[in-house]
């Protein structure tokens, strides 16, 4: 049984997330950011099949990024630099430092919670959207050309093989006594050569099976936009606008 987030039309869902992000980018309310983040997590855990483990696996890097941004804001917020205040009035240091720190603390919270709100929205999409359903939706709702849609899917499914091949190529270099680090150009070049070959053979394979780019074709699934897809979008955008109007901190 799929949750309501998984049934939400992916194009509408992606559009909703983008509109929400643009709305959030013009405000600096810590409470609204935290509310968005919290609501996204609750929705993910209640309205989709993804378990808390997958949420946690994405949440950890997001929280680390937020922490980094928090410390950065604390030290280097615009207009609240501690050293500058110290230089201005030596006698008022304790108060000035405290004032600067409290200003910086709020800026730091704004930056960090904004990142968390974005991560919440992004995860809401990433963890509840099936790749093929998303591409099928882009095909029908955004009129994406089948060439691009199936090209993306082919590359997507090639990825595990590419990771395996990449480590084998690097191993092959190491076996020959050539030291390779993550940015060594030789294995990357070998992989690019492979990529050119793959692109040729995959396109040949697809075309020989009758794939004809823009020619009319039948579809296994045709995602549609229902009233509840749009209602969900309106609810999300409306909620954020309401938050922007009602919240003050």
């Amino acid at each position: 049984m799929t949750g309501f987030l998984e049934r939400w039309n992916p194009t509408v869902k992606a559009g909703t997330v983008l509109v929400c992000v643009i709305l959030l980018s013009v405000q600096y309310l810590v409470s609204l950011n935290l509310a968005v983040f919290g609501v996204c997590l609750v929705l993910l855990l209640s309205g989709s099949r993804c378990g808390w483990r997958r949420v946690a696996a994405l949440l950890l890097p997001a929280c680390l990024a937020a922490l980094g941004l928090f410390v950065m804001g604390l030290y280097y917020a615009r207009g609240g630099s501690v050293t500058q205040v110290e230089l201005d009035t030596v006698s008022a240091v304790p108060y000035a430092v405290r004032a600067a720190m409290s200003h910086n603390l709020y800026t730091a919270l704004q930056l960090a919670t904004r990142l968390l709100a974005y991560a919440g929205l992004g995860m809401l999409f990433a963890l509840s959207t099936d790749a093929e359903f998303f591409i099928a939706s882009l095909l029908h709702q955004c009129r994406l050309s089948p060439k691009f849609a199936y090209g993306i899917l082919a590359a997507f499914h090639l990825m595990p093989g590419m990771v395996r091949e990449f480590s084998q190529v690097r191993l092959a270099f190491a076996v020959r006594g050539l030291h390779v680090h993550p940015l060594s150009l030789k294995p990357i070049f070998t992989m690019l050569v492979n990529s050119v070959h793959w692109s040729e053979s995959v396109s040949m394979a697809m075309e020989s099976k009758g794939f004809a780019g823009n020619a009319p074709r039948s579809y296994y699934t045709v995602p549609r936009v229902h009233w509840y897809d749009l209602a969900g979008a309106a609810l999300a955008v409306g909620g954020i606008v309401l938050g922007m109007l009602l919240l003050h901190y």
């Binding site: 680390l64 804001g73 590359a155 690019l192």
Partner: protein, 199 residues
């Protein structure tokens, strides 16, 4: 013969290479993560990933340099962004927004040169413009306008150097290698290089 239509083979080449650059970037996240960890107590955490920022633009640079036609930079970056979204990045569709900005960087430079010049200098200019535009994106969307200007300047400087290395130098170097190996026959880059040899 010049044609603006994308063949399935072209889409696959760009998409597969975008995935490859993504894998290369993942390989660097360990180093970036360590740098990030070291820099966090100094408030410079975001600087940790900046040295690898240029890898983000490689799909766009590759697309522009190989395809050499209108829209190549934007399409390549959008393909990369949609793929990254499918792989489950925690920013989800927001990546598509930043991909659009990155693609626009290269697109603007080659459009200004009327899609006629695709030399190293053009690629370096594209890399610099891309860095500036993405910092603009960070200022508005990520809220970096709240951060002190010298710190932003430092971030931009590192990002520009990274972009010049990865997109202005390494990407054209790799593609020229592919052309020399005779692998990109039928692509604009091979056609232009052949003309260069005749000169």
């Amino acid at each position: 013969m010049k044609t603006n239509a994308w063949k399935l083979k072209d889409v696959l080449l760009i998409a597969i290479c975008a995935v490859l650059f993504g894998v290369v970037y993942l390989g660097c996240t360990y180093v970036g993560g360590i740098l990030y960890g070291i820099l966090t107590p100094f408030g410079m955490a975001s600087l940790g990933y900046e040295p690898f920022y240029g890898i983000y633009f490689m799909a766009g640079a590759f697309g522009v340099y190989v395809m050499r036609k209108p829209g190549a930079g934007l399409i390549a970056e959008l393909l990369a962004a949609v793929l990254e979204c499918l792989f489950g990045n925690y920013f989800g569709p927001i990546i598509i927004l930043s991909g659009l900005v990155q693609g626009f960087g290269f697109e603007l430079i080659v459009a200004l040169k009327r899609y006629k010049k695709f030399d190293r200098l053009t690629m370096i200019e594209g890399a610099v413009l891309c860095s500036v535009l993405t910092l603009g994106y960070n200022l508005v969307i990520s809220g970096y306008n709240q951060i002190a200007v010298p710190v932003l300047a430092l971030m931009l400087a590192v990002r520009i150097v990274s972009a010049i290395v990865f997109d202005g130098v390494v990407t054209p170097l790799l593609v020229d290698g592919l052309v020399k190996a005779g692998l990109l026959k039928g692509y604009a880059v091979a056609r232009d290089t052949a003309v260069d040899l005749e000169d």
